[in-house]
């Protein structure tokens, strides 16, 4: 399989008074297209920090993150987020006064990736793909349930035609049934659409459904054998 994201010697720390607290220690790993990864770890293990670094929401302090063999600093962090990666958050992070379709159109208007002309139709199709019909798609976000909002967020992440999907505990606020559906969706994105999906979770059950489970412990990332 083709490498899409390579992390080498990635470290992250912050200063807490006189003490330097190391969150991530010298992480090196290659992520491939067409695979569904989960990163397991206890609270405070650095899972979200790791995800924020590979999604360029935070700048790394040492080490290197390459997207398709190009350093993301070289791509430009804003440019990388705009054109290379789709991010899904635990708390959905949708614009509340807009409809589901409008939220997707916002992302589509921001990316520089070449997208079909009929953006609204694409947005409706994406929502349909994640299980949201056009009636619900035309509702403002605050009129949708948590599960529906997360589906809209997934559709938004897919709308910019990126190959790398990063999800920060996307099932954290959902019930088990809804969580399973979302996980199935991620697996389908990886296997059928050849995307690389990296999902941070603390649920071992969900992790079992991924292709590769990585464990982050005391700042060190290792594969769950």
């Amino acid at each position: 399989m083709e490498n899409i994201l390579s992390v080498s010697n990635l470290s992250y720390f912050y200063q807490d008074g006189d003490i330097i607290r190391h969150i991530l220690k010298d992480i090196t790993y290659d992520f491939e297209k067409g695979k569904f990864y989960t990163i397991l770890g206890e609270s405070g293990s650095g899972k979200t920090t790791f995800l924020s670094l590979i999604s360029a929401l935070e700048e790394q302090k040492s080490g290197q993150i390459n997207y398709e063999n190009i350093n993301i600093r070289q791509i430009g962090l804003d440019n990388y987020r705009r054109n290379k990666v789709g991010i899904i958050f635990q708390s959905y992070n949708l614009i509340p006064y807009m409809t589901g379709i409008e939220n997707i159109l916002v992302a589509m208007s921001i990316t520089n990736n070449k997208l079909p002309e009929n953006k609204e139709t694409v947005a409706k199709n994406l929502l349909k793909y994640v299980g949201i019909d056009s009636i619900k798609g035309n509702r403002t976000i605050n009129k949708l349930s948590g599960g529906e909002q997360q589906r809209v967020a997934i559709a938004r992440a897919l709308s910019t035609d990126v190959n790398l999907i990063l999800a920060d505990e996307p099932t954290g606020n959902l019930d088990q049934e809804m969580s399973e559906e979302i996980v199935k969706l991620f697996a389908s994105l990886a296997h059928e659409h050849k995307k690389c999906v990296i999902m941070v979770t603390h649920s071992k059950e969900i992790a079992k459904k991924s292709d590769v489970t990585l464990i982050l412990e005391k700042g060190i990332l290792k594969k769950d054998e």
Partner: protein, 475 residues
């Protein structure tokens, strides 16, 4: 969905917040628009009044300094020297003289004038009517500049008339009507040289000249109440004056003087030069006087209308200071109030802005979107306030200016010029010239000031909001 559409969606969907911002901007821009309208109206009124009543300096006899010896007469050369001062905007001088006519009838033969000097000027000598003659050194007649009369038929002097002293005159429509004259008619004016040495006076010689009427003027008159309370036109002494170039007058005067010499009679023919200097700036009055006092001949002094000028212009300047203060205060208030409202709204919108940043949106686009929202709301509010503020300003400022003038003007402010014409501008005239109206220029200024203030108050919150770290907000 580009940032223009996002701005529109945000305004429409966040109705409550848009309305709060709209009302705040509407309130403040009403005050700004009102004060700008008042400021502009006052400036226009002041300009119009100062044009009609410029800061004038005159050279007059200083009776306190006159000794037994009669002071030397003013000359054109001395006037021109003073007129070259950098403090002077323009100046003019006129010869004032008296000529008689046996054929011309006075419009008002039995009028008692306000000033004693005028009673002397128009007196009946024998069967001849005596006319005051006003000269001019310029093709621009002072009375026209001061809006005291306007030419209704014919024209004013040409440069040639002024330089060569052609025999041309300008008369009032009343004088023309009474004597059946029109443009192109000829009148005869002159003087008798009389001998009073015997029991009866004898006319020794008559000097006469013919003058062509080249223009007819209409003097502006004030409406006053007569003894019965009826509204009537106030008597205007200008109707009996005859205007001619200085050199034309000088020519007949010299002819008269020569005749006196030939007849060996003592010359008592009076001939005055009146000089008026218009100052560029009233604040430079003392500087002008200090610079030119040495150029004055002994027995003369400078007099000015600064007191009257200040009394007339003062209320408007007070109002202008007040409207300036209101305008600057409301600009500062708008920056603070709208800035605070924007900061509060931005705190709520941090999450939304974090989402845009996480999606990789350019910071400039986010700034434009947010600014655009404020500008659209402001445009609407300012457009309304241009008219409502103007209406408000019209009602309030009219009363304020009226009160201001009333408190500063008194009956004894009325003054008359050397011809007996009321020189100051009354409250009614100021109020008639004061008009709070909207023109393109005012509307443009209001938009610039209001939108500028709103933009300024929004920029700082935008700058700080865009510095937020999306991870801290979203994860």
């Amino acid at each position: 969905m580009n940032f223009f559409r996002r701005s529109y969606t945000s305004i429409i969907r966040r109705k409550g917040k848009s309305l709060i911002l709209f009302l705040a901007i509407l309130l403040i821009s009403n005050v700004i628009a009102g004060s700008i309208s008042v400021k502009k109206a006052l400036a226009n009124t002041e300009k119009s009044i100062t044009e009609k009543m410029p800061v004038e300096i005159k050279i007059e006899l200083d009776y306190e300094k006159i000794t037994d010896k009669e002071p030397e007469k003013l000359t054109e050369k001395q006037i021109n020297q003073i007129g070259k001062s950098t403090y002077i905007k323009d100046y003019y001088y006129s010869y004032n003289y008296n000529l008689q006519s046996t054929t011309l009838k006075l419009v008002n033969e039995n009028i008692l004038f306000r000033t004693s000097s005028l009673e002397d000027k128009i007196s009946i000598i024998g069967q001849e009517n005596s006319f005051s003659i006003i000269g001019s050194n310029s093709t621009i007649i002072r009375e026209i500049t001061l809006d005291k009369f306007n030419i209704i038929d014919g024209k004013t002097y040409t440069k040639d008339d002024i330089e060569k002293g052609n025999n041309v005159v300008i008369i009032s429509k009343e004088l023309a009507k009474k004597n059946n004259l029109k443009v192109g008619s000829t009148i005869t004016l002159g003087k008798n040289i009389e001998d009073y040495s015997g029991v009866d006076f004898k006319i020794l010689k008559s000097i006469k000249e013919e003058y062509k009427v080249i223009g007819i003027f209409e003097a502006k008159t004030n409406l006053i109440k007569d003894e019965d309370g009826k509204i009537v036109e106030e008597y205007n002494p200008l109707v009996d004056y005859i205007y001619m170039p200085n050199k034309t007058m000088e020519f007949i005067h010299n002819k008269i003087i020569t005749s006196y010499d030939e007849l060996n009679i003592e010359d008592y023919d009076s001939f005055d030069i009146k000089a008026t200097f218009n100052l560029k700036n009233i604040n430079e009055l003392d500087d002008f006087k200090n610079e030119n006092i040495k150029k004055l001949l002994t027995g003369y002094k400078f007099t000015d209308n600064s007191e009257l000028y200040n009394k007339t212009i003062g209320p408007m300047q007070n109002m202008q200071s007040l409207s300036n203060f209101i305008m600057y205060a409301s600009i500062i208030a708008s920056i603070i109030i709208i800035g605070l409202i924007t900061v509060l709204f931005f705190r709520e919108r941090k999450h939304e802005i974090g989402i845009y940043l996480a999606l990789g949106e350019y910071k400039m686009n986010i700034a434009i979107q947010v600014l655009l929202e404020t500008i659209i709301i402001s445009l609407l509010a300012v457009s309304i306030s241009i008219f409502s503020g103007n209406l408000l300003a019209k009602n309030i400022s009219n009363k304020m200016l009226d009160n201001e003038i009333s408190s500063s003007s008194k009956e004894d402010n009325i003054s008359y010029d050397e011809f007996g014409y009321q020189n100051n501008i009354d409250k009614k005239e100021i109020m008639s010239k004061y008009s709070v109206s909207l023109d393109i220029n005012t509307i443009f200024i209001i938009y610039i000031v209001c939108l500028g203030s709103v933009t300024l108050s929004t920029l700082l919150p935008i700058y700080y909001t865009l510095k937020i770290n999306p991870r801290k907000i979203l994860m």
